[in-house]
Amino acid sequence: MSVDDMRKEGKAMSGDSDLLSDEARSWIGLELEMKSEPITRRDVEEYLVASDDYHPFYTSDEAARAAGYHDRLVPPLLYMHTVRPRVRQSELTPDGSTQDRRPPVGNRQGVAGELEFEFIRPLYVGDSLVGKRRLDSLEPKHGARQSFVVCTWKTEYFDQDGNLVIRERNSQILY
């Protein structure tokens, strides 16, 4: 079943869900902090090759300055990877992923849901980020084939001067 199918089928459940234990509920409000190193020109070059997207804003100081920016811009989605944890291979899960912070719901399986971003100001080479993430809600849903819980995290990213630069909301569908 696709995420779309689950969303179409999903209806808010009344009362407690078997999926949503008190232990899982205790995660609501959990706060995590993530930090990046300063973004480098090489980070940007690697991301441009990987995404095969060479917009003039990302490659030309002149083009960016002509549009009113003070330097070339960092591609907007690159920031997500600057805060991805670098863990030892021995700490990876068998599928090669880093351990996901995920509340204990159901069989502890899940798929990614919706992602939402607000880019308050563009990032530049040299910027570094501190992300403050909060588990905002756990919402039980009841589908025709399967019950699940929509877990929503909200994160605010601040630059090296403490200014808010990005807001992010992402959901996980847990079952």
Binding site: A50, H55, A67, L77, H81, R84, R86, E116, F119
Partner: protein, 138 residues
């Protein structure tokens, strides 16, 4: 492109993508993504996939690329919302499509007009990613 050219209902030029093994390798490497379904074909099949899986965030990037490349230097993407709705695989052909849904003279905090877009990534079996974008016009 100027704001005069932007009318709700207008379609953006299509962006075509054909990611191969190198594409998904470089994207996993640049984004420090060790998930084996993106580079280990045998493992991906053991999880029930038909082939190596294209990264969801790469498709999110395509949505931004579609709108930002059309805007050129006349605007900047300031909001993005998307979800991956169907698994996408390596060596498939994809088309990224977008439509203007609203052009607003109501200024942002910086006093700029905005344009809104509905965007999708479509693969051989249907839509794999759906999203919405807001751009500020410079």
């Amino acid at each position: 492109v100027t704001s005069d050219d932007m009318v709700a209902g207008m379609s953006l030029p299509l962006l075509r993508k054909a990611p191969n093994e190198a594409s998904i390798f470089f994207y996993s490497a640049a984004t420090w993504n060790g998930h084996r379904i993106h580079y280990d074909r045998e493992y991906a099949r053991s999880e029930g996939h038909q082939d190596m899986v294209l990264q969801g965030t790469l498709q999110g990037n395509w949505l931004v690329e579609l709108v930002q490349s059309w805007l050129g230097v006349r605007g900047r993407v300031i909001r993005l919302k998307y979800r991956n709705v169907r698994t996408a695989y390596v060596n498939q052909d994809f088309t990224v499509k977008g439509t203007i849904t609203k052009v607003s003279g109501a200024p942002t905090a910086e006093g700029r007009a905005t344009a809104e877009f509905e965007v999708v990534v479509e693969g051989p079996d249907g839509i794999t990613t759906r999203g919405e974008i807001v751009a500020e016009l410079l």
